[in-house]
């Protein structure tokens, strides 16, 4: 089982690995749709512990660029490539790259049958939707090996191809960091990020899995993913260290309390683990 973390900058790769991460994921500029900072492929080090986020949906005019990127990745040494567009799997078919692909369609994998269908395409893993209850996760991971679970961080709530904030304000949005929305009858803020690809809204709550991480690690899950969106390096390292401690130490109560106290300003919660969404 790997502890995987996404980061904003290449400078964070080494500290994350040194503090307990097994793999570090960065977003590739022009090919990812995320609030993570983007990096050019040429600026990324060849490292079998570095994964790439290539999760945008490609439109016809962008296909050549996608092919070129995947050809470059094929010739270099990275551990994994996250994708959302089936065209990526199509292009990688019969290439070494195929065995490094991780299907990450945000919400579309909620059953072991769908996860299994993708795994049968010869890819490395599938990220399960963060909308599942603990019971559902147990069932899926019981039926399907090698999956990935997102265990920590702000989860994506919606992705639009429209620049919604820019449209509302009638001006370019330069302050891509620090934007948030609050529903008029509620108190909590949901981070918003506007990029050339469109607008992303993230959850007001930071998903945490402190109580379940050992159970996940002992199941047939391959990868546990910490989403580094909106985290600075210090918080990222504290988070990695805490999960590593929980995994390796029988009584991590002290470290857990210290973390919760230090990050009490974060709205830490258990996401949908205990709350089943219904019709």
């Amino acid at each position: 089982m790997k502890l995987v973390v996404s980061v904003n900058h290449t400078e964070e790769i080494r500290p994350c690995l040194e503090n307990g991460a097994d793999e570090v994921v960065l977003a590739v500029r022009g090919h990812s749709f995320t609030a993570l900072k983007k990096t050019n492929l040429c600026d990324l080090p060849d490292d079998e512990r570095v994964g790439l986020l290539v999760n945008k949906l490609y439109f016809p005019a962008e296909m050549d660029s996608m092919h070129k990127l995947l050809d470059e990745i094929e010739n270099r040494s990275f551990s994994s490539v996250y994708f959302a567009d089936p065209a990526v799997a199509a292009y990688a078919w019969n290439k070494t790259l195929c065995r490094k692909l991780i299907y990450r369609p945000d919400t579309l994998v909620t059953s072991s049958n769908d996860a299994g269908w993708w795994m049968n395409r010869g890819i490395a893993s599938v990220t399960v939707s963060p909308l599942l209850t603990l019971e559902e996760i147990r069932k899926i991971t019981g039926h399907q090996k090698h999956l990935e679970l997102i265990i920590h961080g702000y989860t994506l709530v919606s992705a639009s191809r429209r620049k919604l904030v820019q449209a509302y304000l009638e001006r370019n949005v330069d302050e891509t960091d620090g934007l948030a929305i609050r529903e008029e009858s509620r108190d909590s803020h949901m981070p918003v990020y506007e990029t050339e690809e469109g607008t992303l809204v993230y959850s007001d709550q930071v998903q945490q899995s402190f109580a379940y991480i050992r159970e996940f690690a002992e199941s047939r899950v391959d990868r546990l993913y910490i989403e580094g969106v909106f985290m600075d390096t210090e918080e990222l390292l504290d988070t990695i260290r805490l999960y590593r401690t929980i995994l390796e130490k029988d009584h991590p109560e002290t470290e857990l309390e210290e973390y919760k106290s230090k990050y009490k300003h974060r709205n830490l919660g258990e996401g949908y683990y205990g709350e089943k969404t219904i019709l």
Binding site: M63, A87, D106, D114, R121, R162, Y168
Partner: protein, 414 residues
């Protein structure tokens, strides 16, 4: 990639929330109707079709040379597969032409358990290029792909030109502001799962907008609601591009919406196909007026002219600025120059009304008198669902729709 040839003319694909609306759509010119069963479908509240209803819909469609597609487009959880294979087999036996699916696992099960069903890849899978479609065709044997609503007309042309399966594009109705299938705003705000038919449309709610501590919200709060799609001006382009099917959204919509929108697009498509050319401005404006008579929300042409911006959003509190009360009723009977009408909106003596009948030009006439079923005369009827009688100067038929005349409506608005 070898393109699958289709000998069909472009298909007008209409929505229906129940059997009555399904028959209405077919009568008014839909080549195919998509419906939802009581299981495995999004828009669960719009899915009133029992298997018996589906059989009846298929039989009715056959009479008109039309087809029935059934949505099986949930993103399934573990428990959602119970009874699926049997259900798909039942759909096949009922005479359903195609199922609309968003899950590879369901597609796989359908291919094995009901091989006679066409598989149409739902827009929930956000297919935005031909290579993705080809992959799904190669691996799952899909027959058609419903393109993501984020595609421009240039994208539609490029995808359709190199796509090994048929393409289907939305032309009218509600638009998700977010990529379909990838939005959990409803789950977040209400615990209602958008991917299993429970979308609460939280994108249309109102939000305060901040940059760090500073509130950026203006007089009107921030909202993400999209205007409805109306791509009437692109029908010629879709036909020219080789798109196989033009889809109207709206399984929750009324019988009037279904009748008026389907009828208007039917006439538009037929005129373009008959003339073989792009319509002139005057004819296009005429068809647009007819289409928009069934619409209660503001519209825009989607991403087809290019990437949608501010003009595509409803940025004010009242999204239904153009609510109309044109729909006056449904004809229940016609005898000796008098129709019995089941009322839907206020109708008064002397106002001009018109008949919306399948395949016929609309005819106007004034309301000379109104009487109730007890033969009592009245100056107006204000109670929906009341049955009234009105003289008609020409023959009408059961299920024809009566609406306020376009000219009278304009007079009211002045």
């Amino acid at each position: 990639m070898e393109r699958k040839q289709s000998c069909r003319k472009i298909e007008l694909l209409a929505p229906a929330g129940d059997l009555y609306r399904c028959k209405t759509a077919i009568r008014f010119g839909a080549d195919a109707v998509y419906i939802g069963g009581q299981q495995f479908s999004l828009r669960s509240r719009a899915s009133n079709f029992t298997l018996q209803d589906i059989r009846e819909a298929c039989a009715f469609a056959r009479e008109y040379g039309s087809r029935i597609h059934v949505t099986v487009n949930i993103i399934p959880h573990e428990e959602d597969y119970d009874g699926l294979a049997e259900y798909l087999k039942e759909l096949e036996d009922a005479g359903v032409t195609a199922i609309i699916v968003a899950s590879p696992a369901i597609m796989d099960i359908a291919r094995k358990s009901a091989p006679g069903l066409e598989i149409h890849c739902s827009t929930q899978m956000s297919v935005t290029n031909a290579e993705a479609a080809a992959y799904l065709s190669d691996t799952l044997g899909i027959d058609r792909v419903v393109l993501a609503r984020e595609c421009t007309m240039e994208d539609v042309r490029a995808i359709t030109a190199s796509c090994p399966v048929e393409t289907e594009a939305f032309i009218h109705g509600g638009m998700c502001v977010n990529y379909s299938g990838r939005c959990t705003l409803s789950n977040k705000m209400t615990l209602r799962d958008a991917n299993r038919g429970g979308c609460a449309q939280s994108c249309r709610w109102y939000y305060h907008l901040y940059h760090n501590e500073e509130e950026l919200t203006r007089e009107e709060l921030f909202t993400m609601g999209s205007k409805d799609l109306c791509a009437a001006e692109y029908i010629y382009d879709f036909i020219e591009a080789g798109v196989s099917s033009l889809k109207i959204e709206g399984r929750m919509k009324s019988e009037y919406y279904v009748a008026s929108i389907v009828s208007a697009y039917r006439n538009l498509i037929d005129e373009i196909e008959e003339t073989g050319t792009r319509l002139g401005e005057e004819r296009m404006q005429y068809h647009l007026r007819q289409i928009l008579r069934g619409e209660n929300r503001q519209t825009y042409p989607g991403f087809y002219p290019g990437r949608a911006g501010r003009e595509s959003l409803i940025l004010h509190q009242n999204s239904d600025l153009d609510v109309n009360h044109d729909f006056l009723g449904v004809v229940k009977q016609y005898r000796d120059g008098v129709m019995t009408l089941e009322c839907r909106n206020v109708i008064s003596e002397q106002e001009m009304i018109e008949v919306l009948a399948p395949g016929k030009l609309q005819k106007e006439f004034p309301v000379e008198w109104i009487r109730d079923e007890n033969q009592e005369y009245m100056s107006s009827c204000r109670k929906p669902m009341t049955r009234i009688q009105i003289p008609v100067p020409f023959e009408v038929h059961e299920n024809d729709i009566i609406r306020r005349s376009y000219h009278d409506r304009r007079k009211d608005q002045r």
